[in-house]
Symmetry: C2
Subunit: 318 residues, 2 copies
């Protein structure tokens, strides 16, 4: 029986992952977050705030086999609230890794948990090559991206030292997110598909020529489940990975929606330029060549149409 | 009159820089460090420990125009003492930047100091291309490198937000260092030139096929002085720079020494393999193509022979 902890288990990706892991009889699952949705996945739910160092230390003391570190505030919020961003997206990682190291030491070196951190393609900044390769520099242009990149460095060094067996997964933008819009600057990428499919108007704050990098929530859960089983020796000491996804423009997203749902649904998308959002998104990656992750067996959708289909299948309330 | 602060002003590079800036009548210079050499550069010397957050805050309150952040423990020490490494090489940067931000805010946004951070080529990790370009990923394989890379992310984000006007300079290995050997894993690169020129035996802990990236202390001081005058808009939002240097093998270093000083001096170099040093050095960069820094006017030596000559001219006691 593997004991698995999901930090940030109340969030959208955390819940998708929890649903997936619950099907596995060999896994005992614990979720931690500041809040949980009613219903949803997970029976062992812990409510607490990881920005309190003692909270992470208490969890570390339970010596879970596998720990998913998904807890984070989103990009838009980290950009508008500088203090909250660093305090939420960097320091809890440091304190938690230190707590895991204390457990490692106390165990005489036996305890080396697998830790999987959800990083982001926001660790990159332009100008970009046509496709971002696995050797492209990290030069974040948002606080969120800088915080994710800093956490990657911690995961890398604690792993290199053998205190943990960690990995950072640079998730594509997760699309289509179920539920409500959030404060992420990327929220509209989901909104323009989700809201129309639910008969509601959606706001498009950027030109439809914007190209971006997507994967479904189902793929995200799949990436995370796959990472827990990976032989980390195969990472050759580079513990951050660019993951596969679909590169498409907003116009191509909209055409996929039209294919699935028709013109009347597409007509619910209203263009309303927002320079603040456009400026953040302009700095984001558009396309990748994620050779390492692909060769390590990570898989995403084959087209944006598939991503729309996944949403309809898994999350659309009918 | 520009008020300039050098954090780590008692160290070798700090002293070289201080000597250089003292010649400038438009600069009022303050040095800060945990200790200073007897004699040497700097009349306004402050002794204190930056790992005490209040120490940095008091310095920040003086609102220097230009701040050089050179304070650091060296790579070998950061590798053997994990706690000391992170506590010395990362947290003081965070606390100091936060103190500068408080000054920025208190000034109503007027105070935006130029901050120049001495990062290192240790932010990179292999496998490497033949020459490391300005777009190569950061994947440090030492705690020192991870700490430097994390500091770069802080400098980048505080600058992007306009709290400071910062820059990170990834110095080549500084060679030939005057004075005694230190705990840096790179110390022998200087030792094999310096000790023989001083009539002493030197230990070579790695094969002479090891290739590495060097610049003289004079070039280091030149880089730092140049960075203070640079228009940071020209950095296009990527505030960490790979600097120019000389790529050569240990055998080529030794041949340069032979050219200058003859066979008897070279005979003082004794090969004594040290697997721990060899392992660290094996992970280090060997050659760069630092196009951005070159186009921004940063200059290093043209050959390792010149580097030996600089040592003889500036530092050899005769």
């Amino acid at each position: 029986m593997k004991r698995v902890l999901i930090l940030g288990g109340g969030g959208m990706v955390g819940q998708k992952l929890a649903h997936r892991l619950e099907d596995d009889d060999d896994i005992a699952l614990t979720l931690h977050d500041i809040a949980f949705p009613e219903g949803g996945a997970g029976t062992d739910r812990r409510i607490g705030d990881l920005s309190v160092a003692a909270e992470g230390a208490a969890l570390a003391a339970e010596r879970f086999d596998t720990i998913y570190f998904l807890a984070s505030i989103v990009s838009g919020q980290a950009e508008t609230d500088f203090d909250l961003g660093w305090q939420t997206n960097l320091w809890p990682m440091w304190h938690f890794l230190e707590a895991l190291r204390a457990q490692h030491r106390a165990s005489g070196g036996d305890y080396v948990p697998r830790l999987i951190f959800t990083s982001s393609i926001a660790v990159f900044g332009g100008p970009y090559p046509e496709k971002i390769t696995d050797e492209f520099l990290q030069s974040p242009q948002t606080s969120y991206g800088a915080q994710k990149a800093a956490c990657e460095l911690l995961v890398q060094d604690f792993s290199r030292k053998g205190f943990i067996d960690g990995m950072s997964l640079r998730l594509p933008t997760i699309c289509v997110r179920p539920g409500k819009a959030n404060l992420a600057a990327s929220s509209f990428f989901s909104g323009i598909i989700r809201e129309p499919l639910n008969g509601q108007e959606a706001v498009l704050p950027v030109p439809d020529t914007v190209r971006h990098w997507h994967a479904s929530p189902r793929s995200a859960a799949g990436f995370l489940a796959h990472a827990a089983r990976l032989d980390t020796d195969r990472l050759d000491g580079r513990r951050a990975l660019n993951l596969p996804g679909i590169s498409c423009t907003v116009a191509e997203q909209i055409e996929a929606l039209r294919d699935v749902a028709g013109n009347n649904v597409v007509a619910l998308i209203k263009s309303k330029p927002d320079p603040a959002i456009a400026k953040i998104v302009q700095g984001w990656p558009r396309d990748f060549q994620p050779d390492r992750a692909t060769s390590l067996g990570f898989k995403a959708e084959g087209s944006f149409r598939e991503i729309v289909d996944v949403y309809i299948e898994e999350d659309l309330q009918r």
